[in-house]
């Protein structure tokens, strides 16, 4: 790694760190319904929305009502995204006249966007119309991110409030999350990205004349699409000359801004943020990377403010950072070292700040090189973002292992907006409980007694994910339909399938995209997995909130385990690693670790 590479990584962390406090403060004000500076501008809109939708903003909800409301809202979203894709041929803003999306793919994409996963089974620039991008995908990018934050707020309120049932109002949380937080930030980012070269228009695809024509061979076919054969039955090949390039267009910047900020990750183009129109320059790359980690890290501070003990928020932030930073270093190191298979081919292996990045450049873009691809990959899998600026399938085995491990930890290392911190709080409950057992004292967190009910629910949420992910991986690997989609043979092919179900199960959305996932098997199995895990986990999470909010606040005494100390942070990290390691280490050994040893890395 060059000195400049280290500088870029450090700079990234410093800017994130600088944003945590102001943004965290702002978000806390929004959800506590206090003045935030934008009230005069946005409050009339907010009130008008409540008026026409019949929402009573002062009406509080218990955990069951909160849950139903969220489920019903997401069900409507699911149906809307599905329908919009199926009808896209008949709708306007479809300049390339794309036909309706097939049913299995529509279902997968709908599940994917409603659950904040944004797994990309579709090849966007030749499948989806501008209308589908705007009204189906962009809208769900906002709604699913806001829903994640609403869920977190219900959980935080259950720690703040006591001896009550009310966790807040789902509608109010969602509306405020969108119009005060996500929409203004997205607008600013979208404009900044379009200045860098991310396209934003409604034009049809533009045709240009190539400087040098391309000749390629293809099988000759007749007017019915049947291939011509010669006397011996061989296919006849013909040379085709291409003199033009069709440049795709569309409203990309507006979708990409929210895709990064809302930890969504579903791209406007097939190759996601590796595409030059989604991510044209090092600056656009840096802004998008900041956007990925911005809200999830700021929410730690929001948490501290809302529970009136900032140290607790910082403790979680530190725990997440300690898990995150080594992942960045390992990925960068592995990718910079390069593919061991190419060791003796006479390649230039001297990285230099001014001329050349060297390293494993297969699947990476020149403008990002090694460092920005590795940093992005860690950030996008630590959070549940899942956008990619390099092809993970071509990463070295160890470089591909870290993103996989970051997802295996359950998307709690920063994680998705809202959902990440909720997941971390559940691990905190488990840690407090385990620590309580060790020292023989009643476990409590922030003055709330943690009892077997909370522990049971937290355990369900933590264990259900590995169970489903490993089960589906096993099914895929033992059926011809699952195996036939694998692109790379051997241990790497196993990793492709494990990665796919890990990514969908944790609502991440990144992929080892060699896997031909656009088949009915993967579309339907994956779609069910995304829906099941996102909403199944929401149920015990809200049940815990419902139980905690009813409890009395007990003042801290000499028997209370402080939860902001380094000791507790280490315990929490230990529990996080243990849960994922125990569940997933055997599968990692079969995939990336075997491949690493085989390559003689």
């Amino acid at each position: 790694m060059t000195g400049n590479g280290i500088l870029q990584i450090v700079l990234y962390f410093l800017i994130i760190l600088a944003c945590v406090k102001p943004l965290g403060w702002y978000i806390a004000k929004i959800y506590e319904n206090k003045p935030c500076g934008l009230n005069q501008l946005l409050q009339p809109i907010e009130r008008y929305i409540y008026k026409i939708s019949g929402v009573q903003p002062t009406q509080e909800m218990g955990w069951k009502k909160y849950l139903y409301t969220m489920l019903v809202f997401n069900l409507c979203g699911l149906l809307a995204v599905y329908t919009l894709q199926r009808l896209q041929y008949y709708l306007p803003l479809n300049p390339q006249n794309f036909p309706a999306v097939l049913p299995d793919l529509s279902f997968n994409a709908a599940a994917s966007f409603v659950t904040n996963t944004n797994w990309q089974s579709y090849s966007s620039e030749n499948t989806l119309s501008y209308m589908t991008h705007m009204t189906a995908l962009t809208v769900q990018n906002f709604l699913s991110a806001a829903a994640g934050m609403s869920l977190l707020m219900a959980l935080i309120r259950s720690l703040v409030r006591h001896e009550t049932n009310s966790l807040g109002n789902f509608w109010v949380d969602t509306v405020r999350g969108i119009i005060y937080i996500l929409l203004p930030l997205s607008f600013i980012l979208a404009i900044a990205l379009s200045a860098q070269g991310v396209i934003q228009n409604f034009k049809p695809y533009q045709t240009i004349q190539l400087l040098q024509p391309i000749h390629y061979q293809k099988t000759k076919i007749d007017s019915l699409g049947n291939p011509f054969k010669d006397a011996k039955g061989n296919l006849i090949r013909e040379t085709v000359k291409v003199t033009e390039q069709k440049i795709p267009m569309g409203p990309a910047a507006s979708q990409i801004a929210i895709k990064q900020l809302g930890t969504n990750g579903g791209g406007f183009f097939n190759t996601n943020s590796a595409h030059p129109f989604e991510n044209p320059t090092p600056l656009s790359n840096f802004l998008e990377m900041l956007a990925i980690l911005l809200i999830p890290s700021a929410l730690c501070y929001t948490f501290g403010l809302m529970i009136n003990d900032k140290r607790q928020g910082w403790a979680l932030f530190i725990a997440m950072s300690i898990l995150f930073i080594p992942s960045v270093i390992i990925t960068t190191y592995a990718e910079q070292k390069g593919n061991a298979a190419l060791k003796y081919l006479g390649l230039n292996k001297t990285a230099s700040s001014h001329f050349y990045s060297s390293g494993n450049m297969e699947g990476k873009e020149t403008r990002f090189g090694i460092v920005n691809s590795a940093l992005w990959t860690s950030a996008t899998t630590a959070t549940s973002n899942g956008s990619v600026n390099a092809m993970l399938d071509s990463f070295t085995p160890l470089g591909g292992l870290t993103p996989l491990w970051l997802m295996h930890s359950g998307e709690v290392i920063f994680g998705g907006v809202g959902s990440g911190l909720s997941g971390m709080l559940l691990l905190v409950i488990i840690t407090v409980f385990a620590a309580g057992l060790m020292v023989g004292r009643t476990p409590e967190y922030l003055g709330k007694k943690i009892e077997p009910f909370e522990m049971k629910m937290a355990t369900i949420t933590v264990l259900i994910m590995p169970l489903i992910v490993l089960l589906l991986t096993a099914i895929a690997l033992s059926t011809p339909k699952g195996i036939s989609s694998i692109a790379n043979p051997g241990a790497h092919g196993f990793t492709e399938v494990l990665y796919a179900f890990t990514s969908m199960g944790n609502n991440n959305g990144s992929a080892f995209s060699g896997l031909h996932a656009n088949t009915p098997f993967y579309n339907i199995a994956g779609g069910m997995e995304m829906l099941f895990l996102r909403f199944w986990i929401a149920i015990p999470t809200l049940a815990i909130a419902g139980s905690l909010v009813r409890k009395k606040l007990i003042p801290a005494n000499s028997g209370t385990l402080p939860t902001h100390t380094m000791l507790f942070i280490i315990l929490l990290i230990g529990v996080t690693c243990m849960v994922s390691a125990l569940s997933f280490f055997p599968s990692l050994a079969l995939g990336p670790i075997v491949e690493h040893l085989m390559l003689g890395g």
């Binding site: 939708s53 790359n285 081919l345």
Partner: protein, 191 residues
């Protein structure tokens, strides 16, 4: 009744947010971007001799020995097909990968006989998007001798051009140094 009321609220709110985030937001962003940055928002298209000849951000395929070559592109059915961006998704241990890389190396060595070793890795590996418009300055320098010979130009002149068109890191920190292949080749034609 309760459920129906909930459903009604959900549908109305979904419609409202479809209007706000699905129409108003992208349309306002389009308006502002088209007003402030029309070149970028429309795909950074470049004109040459009154013809649209490409986008500064989307690579093109070059195989002529008098042009600089870009990264190998795995898009289907032909390289640098902008309608179908895709990476090669070759795993590091894929048995097809090594022969493919060796073939690319052999082609480079045949066309750049002065540079048998020290091949820049970006010239023999596919990019992430299949449309990477750029190569490293080292990969451009590597090809200078061949281009000088094919165009019967002084090599120094080519090297100077490379130096002139090299884009440095943003604020000397972010990203990687790089050079745009299409712009480089256009500049060659203008020499």
């Amino acid at each position: 009744m309760e459920v129906l009321k909930l459903l009604k609220t959900a549908i109305i709110l979904l419609l409202i947010f479809t209007l706000i985030t699905g129409f108003i937001y992208p349309i306002v962003v389009t308006g502002v971007a088209q007003f402030l940055f029309p070149f970028q928002a429309n795909g950074s298209l470049i004109k040459y001799h009154d013809k649209w000849i490409g986008s500064a951000l989307i690579g093109q395929s070059f195989t002529d020995e008098a042009y600089f070559w870009g990264r190998p592109s795995p898009t289907q059915p032909f390289p640098y097909n902008a309608e179908n961006s895709s990476g090669a998704n070759m795993g590091p241990s894929n048995p097809d990968f090594l022969p493919m890389v060796k073939m690319r190396i052999a082609l480079l060595q045949k066309n750049n006989p002065d540079k048998a070793r020290m091949i820049p890795i970006d010239l023999i590996t596919a990019s992430g998007s299949g449309l990477d418009p750029e190569i490293s300055p080292l990969a451009a320098t590597y090809q200078a001798e061949r281009i000088a010979k094919a165009r019967k130009l002084d090599k120094e002149k080519i090297l100077l051009l490379i130096q002139k068109l090299t884009k440095n890191r943003y604020l000397s920190v972010l990203g990687e140094p790089r050079i745009n292949v299409l712009q480089l080749n256009l500049a060659l034609d203008k020499l």
